[in-house]
């Protein structure tokens, strides 16, 4: 992997980027009301790796949606840089996602009709000061596969393109939903290393949602979710390098 030290200025670690205050989210399913999130309060800090763990149905994905500006809570506040995101318009929320947030999904979600290069480039065009497309592809080790289509890449390669796509925007928040869920251990480990690098060099807050508890070992903090509530928040003083964790 290349050196990503020449990427834009780092946020100072521990600076609070986002704060969730008493956030709840309910869904109406016919006659039943499902409480997906219940009274969640937490902070997300710049430069940290935050793992959100929990079984299926614990509210992890719902929490990620709200943090990423893709959903609004039923009650509570989401404060980002002094702005309450629960009160802004859809347009502003869209701009928040455009400029501030990068996403990495379990199943990559690349645009099949664009090459790796084009997938990254189309995202770079969204922001005013993106990183160089060539550089980020080189950093994820895909410079020689830049002109291949997603269908011509392996799962791990596609996930690396997905990370490059997220990185090129220099996002302050990098949100990952089961980023290693579809990958074997070796490839998954490579992906986790990349994510750790992004956190260190860009100063982005990397939030990883997973049901794989081992990943919590590499995180600065671990939030355990159960039945829509934050069961516990654990600070990890010595997070392990991604290469040393195995599952």
């Amino acid at each position: 992997m290349g050196n990503i030290m020449d990427l834009p200025a780092m946020e100072s670690k521990n600076q609070t980027l986002m704060r969730l205050e008493n956030v709840s989210r309910n869904f109406v399913m016919g006659e039943v009301i499902v409480e997906a999130l219940r009274d969640v309060t937490l902070e997300i800090n710049a430069g940290e790796i935050l793992a959100i763990l929990g079984p299926s149905g614990s509210g992890k994905s719902t929490l990620l949606n709200i943090v990423g500006g893709m959903d609004r809570p039923s009650t509570g506040r989401v404060i980002y840089e002094g702005e309450d995101l629960t009160r802004v318009s859809d347009d502003l929320l869209g701009r928040f996602r455009r400029h501030e947030v990068g996403f990495v999904f379990q199943f990559y979600n690349l645009i099949p009709d664009l090459t790796a290069w084009e997938n990254v480039e189309i995202t770079a065009e969204l922001v005013e000061s993106p990183s160089s497309v060539a550089k980020v592809l080189e950093e994820v080790g895909l410079a020689d596969r830049a002109y291949h289509f997603p269908s011509q890449l392996s799962g791990g390669e596609q996930q690396r393109v997905s990370i490059a796509r997220a990185m090129v925007k220099n996002p302050r928040l990098l949100l990952c939903d089961e980023p290693t869920g579809a990958l074997d251990h070796q490839t998954g480990s490579m992906v986790l290393s990349l994510l750790a690098n992004v956190s260190r060099s860009l100063g982005s807050a990397v939030v990883i949602v997973t049901h794989n508890t081992v990943i919590g070992d590499m995180a600065d903090r671990v939030i355990r979710m159960r039945s829509g509530k934050v069961a516990e928040i654990i600070t990890n003083p010595d997070p392990l390098p991604p290469e040393r964790i195995s599952w």
Binding site: S61, L64, N65, G68, M70, D71, D91, G94, R95, R97, R98, H99, V101, F103, F105, Q106, F107, N109, I111, P112, D113, L114, E118, E121, I122, T123, E125, L126, F149, P150, S151, Q152, D177, E178
Partner: protein
């Protein structure tokens, strides 16, 4: 709903056109049969009435009628000249060939009191001139004025489409009408005591029409055979036949376009729906549901949409057939009501549309049902993409941004769907051209005819040929700027074994008030010797430039003369017909010297009214044809075309909208995950909509561009279908029509796209975070 609309249009066109065809055809057949429509016509100079008995005795002749018929000038107070076709009928009418049916008022009396002449008129002439029973008409015959008393209106099989002659494009009821009167009185008025100038026959079943006609011609030869022709060449019948032929062709082809396109749209949409429900289908199969039930379920969707469209189409088709019926009632003088339901058309319309829908449904369901349940329940394999041919043009490809690259690859990858969308838009754009071209063609014809071919203000015809110097009486009227003589000679032209009736027009070389062109639009000079043959006549005879033809004169009076003339050119006229020779040549053909039958005038516009007044006082003048009034009459008739234009434009827009809307909706539903991703990444609704719009445009614009020349081709096909030997018109599409059609096309594409992409607003990016499994 859009698909249902397309089905509706197809079914309604099928029902309305087939109903109109059936009703018109049926009404015509009944009317012809009940009124003994003639199989053959013979025009003679004059023959004794007794000749009818000899013709009746021929074994091949079923019925025969002798009569007198002649066009005479109508004298009116407002100095407007008209022409009426005075026709004599022998009472009682039961045994008459081409007998008439009373429509209003009462039948004329053979010997009314007070020495009056009682007449019936055709209903359109009566309506245009506001004639009621008891009103009088004054005509000029044999140099004197004759008063006729109208007792009512009537119709006959030879007057269904009452046109003055083949040169007229449309009926002109204000200035031309049919007057029906007792034969004895017509003979008296026109100077045919105990004589006839026309013989009509019906041929007995099983006899050869041509052979019977030859026998009749032999009997009539001593009396000056002017013309003889079968029913198919009778003007009213020929016009009606052409209309029916055109209608029949349109009734079968146009609905097919809509029904096939509706089936294709349904096939593609249903295929997409089945793909998105593959997991549910897999579950049903795993649970034990048999294929037939699953196919019926999905085919049922298609049938429901088709049934909805068909029901709407039946209702709309019945309404539309009423509109067609009324339109035909305006043009065709049929006493029977042209109306009624055609149950057969409704039945077949329903069957065809359901068959198309069923084919679409069954065809679309085939693919998924071949998969085993386990495979069906797995997610759809990811889309495979790759480079397309266009990317080899790197100089162009590099200039495109990622949005265009994505769109072009998507359109290319969905080859068949893109192709069908393009073809659908092509048809819609083509229909827009058809909607507008008729107006362009008529405009071109009228401009050519009234601005270039004819530059006189008036054409004055005389009751009989006069010496050329006599036209000085007219030329010297105050306000006449220029006058040029004309000699019109009805002739029969022979070339080998073929012969055709034609009109020879003699003008001085260098005449400017009437000009003659060939098919390429080149001016033809009137030759001193030889003839510029009419292109229709030349085609029928197989004549080319340089050929020698035999001309036999067929004047009302005088002996028939025969001459051989060389064809020096082929003339083409937008409206009308006739072959041109020099005035001297025309006189030579008649073995006459310096006679004319008409004069063309150019007048000072300020003096036109006074000149017309003077001319109307002259009893030797048979008709005064005003170029301006003739043009106004055409333009008024052309006003009816607006209904046709509105209907066709509406159909084209609905078809185009449905095609583009459905294609956009399918594209939208296939790309929902991608679109959600883009929104999640921060693309605005407008940017996402722009992506879909690019794809829509990539499919629609080529279709639209191809549709413009395709529309011209369809117009040419249509004109070829409705053209007859007597009548055709050029296909002209002005540049503005292409532009207007393209604008309409762009509009329906944009509107359809807007409707289809409204759902972008409601895409939930959170859907993306749901696992695939």
């Amino acid at each position: 709903m859009a698909v249902a609309l397309v089905v509706m249009i197809g079914v309604s066109i099928y029902i309305s056109m087939n109903t109109a065809y059936y009703n018109l055809d049926h009404s015509r057949d009944v009317f012809y049969r009940e009124n003994h429509f003639a199989d053959y016509y013979f025009h003679v100079v004059r023959a004794p009435y007794q000749v009818i008995k000899r013709i009746e005795a021929l074994s091949g002749v079923d019925m025969v009628t002798g009569r007198v018929q002649m066009d005479v000038p109508l004298m009116r107070e407002n100095a407007d000249r008209g022409t009426i076709r005075l026709t004599g009928y022998h009472l009682p009418l039961d045994k008459e060939v081409n007998r008439i049916q009373l429509l209003s008022g009462r039948m004329f009396d053979k010997d009314p009191s007070g020495g009056r002449i009682e007449v019936l008129t055709d209903p359109q002439f009566a309506a245009a001139n506001r004639l009621n029973p008891g009103d009088s008409l004054v005509v000029a015959a044999q140099g004197r004025e004759v008063t006729l008393t109208v007792t009512g209106t009537a119709g006959g099989p030879e007057f269904i489409y009452p046109m003055k002659d083949a040169a007229s494009l449309m009926p002109e009821p204000e200035s031309f009408g049919i007057i029906m009167a007792p034969l004895n009185q017509v003979q008296q008025v026109l100077g045919y005591p105990g004589q006839v100038n026309q013989v009509l026959i019906t041929v007995a079943p099983g006899y050869d029409e041509e052979k019977v006609a030859e026998q009749v011609e032999k009997i009539l030869e001593p009396y000056g055979n002017l013309a003889s022709y079968p029913r198919k060449d009778q003007l009213s019948h020929a016009m009606l036949d052409a209309e029916l032929e055109g209608l029949q062709k349109s009734a079968s082809s146009l609905p097919a376009v809509f029904l096939v396109l509706a089936a294709v749209i349904q096939y593609v949409m249903l295929g997409r729906m089945i793909k998105t429900q593959r997991r549910e289908i897999g579950i049903l199969k795993a649970l034990g549901f048999d294929r037939r039930r699953i196919v019926m379920h999905y085919a049922g969707y298609s049938m429901m949409i088709t049934l909805l469209g068909a029901v709407l189409g039946i209702i709309f088709g019945i309404m539309l057939s009423s509109v067609f019926s009324k339109a035909y009632a305006i043009f065709f003088n049929l006493p029977q009501e042209i109306g009624g339901l055609n149950v057969k058309a409704i039945f077949y319309g329903l069957i065809f549309s359901l068959a198309a829908g069923a084919a679409a449904g069954l065809g679309a369901s085939r693919g998924i049902l071949s998969l085993n349940p386990a495979e069906s329940m797995r997610s759809e394999p990811p889309r495979v993409s790759g480079r397309i041919g266009l990317e080899r043009w790197t100089w162009l490809w590099r200039k495109l941004d990622n949005y265009w690259r994505m769109s072009i690859r998507t359109v290319w990858r969905n080859g068949w769907r893109s192709f069908f969308t393009m073809v659908g838009v092509m048809f819609a754009a083509g229909m827009l051209i058809i909607a507008f071209f008729a107006d362009d063609s008529m405009d071109y014809m009228l401009t050519q005819h009234f601005a270039f071919e004819k530059s006189y203000d008036y054409l004055i015809r005389f009751t009989e040929p006069v010496k050329e110097y006599e036209i000085l009486n007219i030329s010297r009227l105050e306000g006449v700027v220029k006058s040029e003589p004309l000699l019109e000679v009805p002739v029969r032209v022979s070339f080998g074994v073929r012969e055709e009736d034609d009109l020879l027009l003699g003008m001085n070389p260098g005449t400017t008030l009437k000009t003659v062109f060939n098919e390429d639009g080149d001016l033809l000079a009137i030759p001193q010797d030889g003839v510029l043959m009419n292109d229709m006549t030349a085609k029928k005879l197989g004549v080319k430039v340089g050929d020698q033809v035999t001309i036999e004169t067929r004047m009302q009076s005088g002996v028939s003369q025969e001459t051989s003339l060389k064809v020096l050119g082929i003339n083409h006229q937008m409206i009308g017909s006739g072959s041109y020779v020099s005035l001297k040549q025309a006189n030579q053909v008649l073995r006459e010297s310096r006679i004319v039958t008409a004069v063309m005038l150019k007048v000072d516009p300020g003096k036109a009214a006074d000149i017309e007044k003077e001319l109307n006082r002259m009893t030797g003048v048979s008709s005064i044809q005003s170029r301006q009034r003739e043009l106004e009459g055409f333009e008024k008739q052309m006003g009816y075309m607006i209904y046709f234009v509105v209907i066709m434009v509406s159909f084209a827009v609905i078809l185009g909208f449905a095609i583009v809307y459905n294609s956009s909706v399918i594209g939208f539903s296939e790309r929902q995950r991608e679109l959600a991703l883009l929104k999640m990444m921060g693309f605005s609704d407008r940017e996402v909509g722009g992506l879909l719009l690019r794809e829509t445009l990539l499919q629609s614009i080529p279709g639209m561009l191809l549709g413009l020349p395709f529309g011209r081709m369809m117009s040419q096909w249509w004109v070829a279908a409705i053209s007859t030997e007597a009548f055709t018109f050029p296909v002209v599409v002005y540049p503005r029509t292409y532009i207007v059609s393209a604008i309409f096309g762009v509009l329906f594409v944009l509107v359809a796209h807007w409707f289809a992409s409204r759902g972008i607003r409601h895409i939930e990016p959170t859907e993306l975070l749901k696992n695939n499994d």
